[in-house]
Symmetry: C2
C-alpha cells in the first residue's frame, strides 16, 4: 500500500467541511505510527500470500479493499505511549486486523450481505462455501502469528475476546427480528461485537517485553472507544447516505436488527408505531412499511438525539481516559481517535 | 453418556457378521481407556454448556449425537502407551474432538449437507447463520481448553493442523466438479482433511509432562491410520447402504467430489465413460446419468478393488508401526484400530 492511499483513506474517513481540521489533526497524530502501519500492511500481505490461487485471490481482495485499520493503529499508538520500541506490535497489529476481518467475513454470511466496505461482499462474490473457509483461514492465520510471538497471556486475551465476540453474534442472532431487547442486552452485544476487540488492541501492548505498566487505563479506553464507535455505526445507519456509507441506509432494521436509537425510544412508542417497526423487523424488508415511515417515528421521538447523547458519553469517557495518559504525540492520537469515533461519517 | 451407549456405538460401528470377533477385540482393547473416554465426554458436555440457550441447544445436539470419538480414543491410547498417568490427555481429547466437530459443522455449509451422522445436519436444522457461528464457537472453545494447558508446543501442533485442514478444504473446493485431479493432489487433500488430525491425536501425548520419547512412530501411525480411514470413507460411499452410512450413497460424486476409486481408473476410462462421470460432477446430481451407470463403470474397471488395495497398504503400515511399539493393552488398541479403519462399515 502506498503512502498516498493511506492518507486518502483517512482523509475520506473524516468529516468533510467543518470537521476537516479534526481530520488534519488526526492525520498528524497518526504520523507517529504511519511507518509501522505500513509494516502491518506488509505483514498482512505476506501472511495471506499463498500457493493456493483462491487463498491468494481472496487475500488480495480483502487486503486491498482494506478497512480503516483503526484497530492496528490503536495498538501501535498504545505501544508507543508505553515506550515500546521493538517490532512485536506490528505483528500483533496484523493479528488484530486478521481477527477483525475474519469476523467481517463470517458476518457477511450471517447477514447475507451483498455489500461490504462499499464493494461486493466476499460471500456474494465467492459463495457461502469459500466464505466460511476463508473466515476460518483468517482466524487461524491470526492465531499462527500470535503463537509465533509465544506469549500465553496475549493468546489468552485473544482467545477470550474472540470467544466472547462469537457468543455475542449468537446472542444477536437469537434476538434478531425481535422488538423485545433491553438496553442492557443491547449494550452487552455492542461490548462483544466491537468494544472488546478495541479493548484488546489497546491492552495487548501492556504485555510487550520491557513494558511496565500498572492500571488498566488503555483497556478501559479501548472499551469506551469501541462502544462509541459502534453506537456511531448505528447512528450512521439512520443518517448517512448510501454513497458515504458504502451500504444502504436502514440496513440494520432491514436485517432484523434493532439498534440504539429505536431501543432508547421503544417505551415511548405508540401501539401503531411499535407495529410499524415490528413489521419491518419481521418482514426484513420495507415492503409493507416505508423507510420514511420509520424515519418519521425516529424524528418524532428525537431518537437520534438521545442516541447521540449516549454516544457522546462514551466518547467523552474515552477522551478523558486518553488525557490521563502521559502527554506525547501517540497520546494525542488516542484523544483524536475518540473524536473521530463519535463524528466519523463512514 | 452411559456406558451402554458407548459400547453400543462401538459395536454398531464394526462389521456385523464375519467381523464381529474383531469388534469384540476392539472393544476389549478400548476397555483400557473407557473410563477416560467417559471423562472426555463429560469435558465436552461441560465445555459446551452455556447460559445462551442456542449454544446450549446446539451443544447438546452435537454432543449427544456424538461421533465414534475415534480421535480422543487414539489420543488416550497413545498417552497410555507412553506411560502417562495424569489427566491432561482427557482435556486434549476434548480439544481434538471439538476441532473435529467444528470442521464437520462448517463442512455442512460447504457441502450444503442435509444429513450428517444419520441425522439432520446442523445447517439444515439451524440455517447457515448459526452454523457458521457454532463452528467458530467450537474452534474457539478447543483453543481455550488447549490454552488452559499452557503448552505452546501443543498449541503450535493444533494451529498448524487446523490451518492445513482449512487450506485443504479450500483446495478441495477449488477442484470440486473437476475431473482433472491427480492422485498426488488427491492424497494431499486426504492428508489435510483427515490424516493430520489423526496424526495430531497420536502425537500430542508425546508432549505430556513426564513423557520422554524419541522418534515419531505415533505421529506416522496416526497419519497412516487417518489416510486408511479416509480411503475407507471414500469406498463406503460406493459400497454402503444409505441405512448403514447415515447418508445417501454416491453422495461424494453428487457433491462434485471425485474420490479414490474413480481417480485411480481415470486414465483407463473410455471417452464415453469419462463423459458420464463428468456430467454427474458438473450437474451435481444424477439427472442425466443414473447411479447404476456410474457403478457399472466402477465395476468394469475394478476401481473398488484397486482402491481397497491402496487402502490396505496404509492400514498395514499403521498396523506395523503400532506393532513396533512396546506391547501393552493400549498398543493392541492401536493395532485393532488399524483393522477397524480399513474394514468399518460406517
Amino acid at each position: 500500500m502506498t503512502e498516498t492511499s493511506l492518507r486518502e483513506r483517512l482523509l475520506v474517513a473524516t468529516l468533510p467541511a467543518e470537521e476537516r481540521e479534526n481530520g488534519r489533526r488526526l492525520l498528524q497524530a497518526l504520523a507517529c505510527v504511519e511507518d509501522k502501519l505500513k509494516l502491518v500492511e506488509r505483514e498482512l500481505e505476506t501472511r495471506t500470500r499463498s500457493k493456493t490461487p483462491t487463498i491468494g485471490l481472496i487475500g488480495e481482495y480483502l487486503v486491498d479493499g482494506g478497512g480503516k485499520r483503526i484497530r492496528p493503529a490503536l495498538l501501535l499508538l498504545s505501544a508507543q505511549i508505553l515506550g515500546y520500541t521493538g517490532d512485536r506490535d506490528v505483528r500483533y497489529g496484523a493479528v488484530i486486523e486478521l481477527i477483525h476481518t475474519a469476523t467481517l467475513v463470517h458476518d457477511d454470511i450471517i447477514d447475507a450481505a451483498d455489500i461490504r466496505r462499499g464493494r461486493e461482499s466476499v460471500n456474494h462474490r465467492w459463495g457461502n462455501e469459500l466464505t466460511v473457509l476463508f473466515g476460518d483461514y483468517l482466524y487461524m492465520k491470526s492465531m499462527e502469528i500470535a503463537l509465533d510471538e509465544g506469549d500465553l497471556r496475549v493468546l489468552r486475551v485473544l482467545s477470550d475476546v474472540t470467544l466472547e465476540m462469537t457468543e455475542g453474534e449468537i446472542i444477536g442472532s437469537e434476538i434478531r427480528g425481535s422488538l423485545d431487547i433491553s438496553l442492557e442486552r443491547y449494550l452487552d452485544i455492542v461490548r462483544r461485537k466491537t468494544a472488546l476487540l478495541f479493548g484488546a488492541a489497546c491492552r495487548i501492548p501492556t504485555f510487550l517485553p520491557g513494558v511496565e505498566t500498572s492500571g488498566d487505563t488503555l483497556w478501559r479506553y479501548g472499551l469506551a472507544l469501541g462502544t462509541a464507535f459502534q453506537l456511531q455505526d448505528d447512528l450512521l445507519d439512520y443518517t448517512a447516505s448510501e454513497k458515504d456509507l458504502g451500504k444502504p441506509v436502514l440496513s440494520d432494521l432491514r436485517e432484523g436488527k434493532l439498534t440504539l436509537p429505536l431501543i432508547l425510544v421503544l417505551p415511548d412508542l405508540s401501539r401503531a408505531e411499535r407495529k410499524l417497526v415490528d413489521t419491518v423487523l419481521r418482514e426484513r424488508s420495507f415492503t409493507s412499511v416505508s423507510p420514511d415511515q420509520i424515519l418519521e417515528i425516529v424524528a418524532h421521538h428525537t431518537a437520534l438525539e438521545r442516541a447521540r447523547e449516549m454516544l457522546e458519553g462514551y466518547a467523552s469517557e474515552a477522551r478523558a481516559l486518553a488525557l490521563s495518559l502521559p502527554e506525547c504525540p501517540a497520546r494525542d492520537g488516542l484523544v483524536l481517535a475518540a473524536e473521530y469515533a463519535a463524528h466519523r461519517r463512514k
